[in-house]
């Protein structure tokens, strides 16, 4: 049984090396996982600390929190998902690029259109009527 398992894994390893030559997704190393983990801890701890203590003003905090999230997504992609531009002959990176473009269009479009719908087509409340009267 154990010899069989050993043979299996040894064979698997050979095959794996063979696939590597064909541009199979690269695999991580202990160092890579640890770097990714430590970076993630830092990039998570700082936003939580900033929001929970409220040391900086809201706008600065928002900018830092959002940019650290964006950096952390890249860190996860590189160190945990082993994303490279050459994995799978570049097809997985192309798929990722396409997805990111669709996400940006979906998110910015929804927020933009719906914000204007909210701002311009809200049913008139007494407060809004009073405000428009005072502007005239």
């Amino acid at each position: 049984m154990s010899a069989d398992t050993l043979h299996n894994s040894a064979h698997g390893h050979d095959h794996h090396d063979h696939e590597h030559a064909h541009g199979e997704a690269p695999h991580g190393s202990l160092r890579g996982y640890m770097i990714g983990f430590i970076l993630s801890v830092i990039l998570t701890a700082i936003p939580f600390a900033l929001v929970m203590t409220g040391k900086l003003d809201a706008t600065t905090t928002a900018v830092i929190v959002l940019s650290m999230a964006a950096i952390q997504v890249v860190v996860h992609m590189v160190f945990f998902l082993h994303m490279t531009t050459t994995a799978e002959g570049g097809w997985s990176f192309l798929a990722l690029l396409f997805t990111v473009i669709v996400i940006v269009i979906t998110l910015s479009g929804s927020i933009w259109v719906m914000y204007h719908m909210n701002a311009n087509m809200m049913p008139a409340t007494p407060a809004a009527i009073a405000e428009s009267m005072s502007q005239q």
Partner: protein, 213 residues
């Protein structure tokens, strides 16, 4: 050697050439790319749920908002659980890739990963039940509907990942670390890390930005 053959019909029509043997693709050689495509389409589902939350997230319906409802220490703990589980899954993959890897060691790391995942789910369910007891269930306002849909969908993915993980622990126990099982473990690895990436979006957009105002 020749993979080609032809048929010439009796009445002298042009011979028809076709390949008898298919191109040789090693079994499972396209699985990782296919699974990546699935993850990208799953990403689009989450993108749409994030867009819903971005649009509806300020419609409190006269009820309480994120500032009153969310407990950041709990969310920080949850984030830590998921991050630890990502690291331990990485250790499981490293153990698997070592030549002559022992099934027990891989199973051990997978179980640790599963326990972190389970802790994440329990904390999330505790948070949900607290919210519902406070009268802030998904029916209360558009903000809470979109919150429960987004975070709940992520939680559902983690649940499915846990079921998959338990299945694979049993499967490598029965059949060892063969080529097929390695491929399955690599797919689950991508799925698990992907869920952690989505969670970055959730804790940033929903919790941190929500509490910030």
């Amino acid at each position: 050697m020749s993979a080609q053959t032809f048929e010439a019909t009796a009445n002298g029509e042009t011979p028809l050439f076709y390949e008898v043997e298919e191109h040789h693709h090693p079994e499972g050689s396209s699985t990782m790319l296919g699974f990546w495509m699935y993850l990208m389409s799953d990403c689009l589902i989450f993108a749409i749920l994030f867009a819903c939350y971005a649009v509806l997230g300020h419609s409190y319906g006269g009820g309480e908002g994120p500032k009153q409802l969310f407990e950041l220490p709990l969310v920080a703990l949850n984030t830590a659980m998921l991050l630890f589980s990502s690291l331990t899954y990485g250790f499981a993959m490293l153990t698997m890739e070592r030549p002559g890897a022992s099934v027990r060691a891989v199973q051990g790391w997978l179980i640790v990963t599963g326990l972190f995942g389970l802790a994440f789910l329990c904390i999330e369910l505790y948070e949900f039940s607290n919210l519902i007891h406070e009268g802030a269930g998904p029916w209360r306002s558009a903000f809470l509907s979109s919150f429960f849909t987004l975070v709940g969908t992520h939680g559902l993915h983690v649940t499915v990942g846990l079921i998959w993980l338990v299945t694979l622990v049993a499967q490598i126990g029965m059949h060892g670390l063969g080529q097929a099982n390695r491929r399955r473990l690599m797919c689950l690895s991508m799925f698990w890390h992907f869920l952690d990436v989505i969670w970055i979006g959730v804790f940033t957009i929903v919790y941190l930005m929500g509490v910030l105002g």
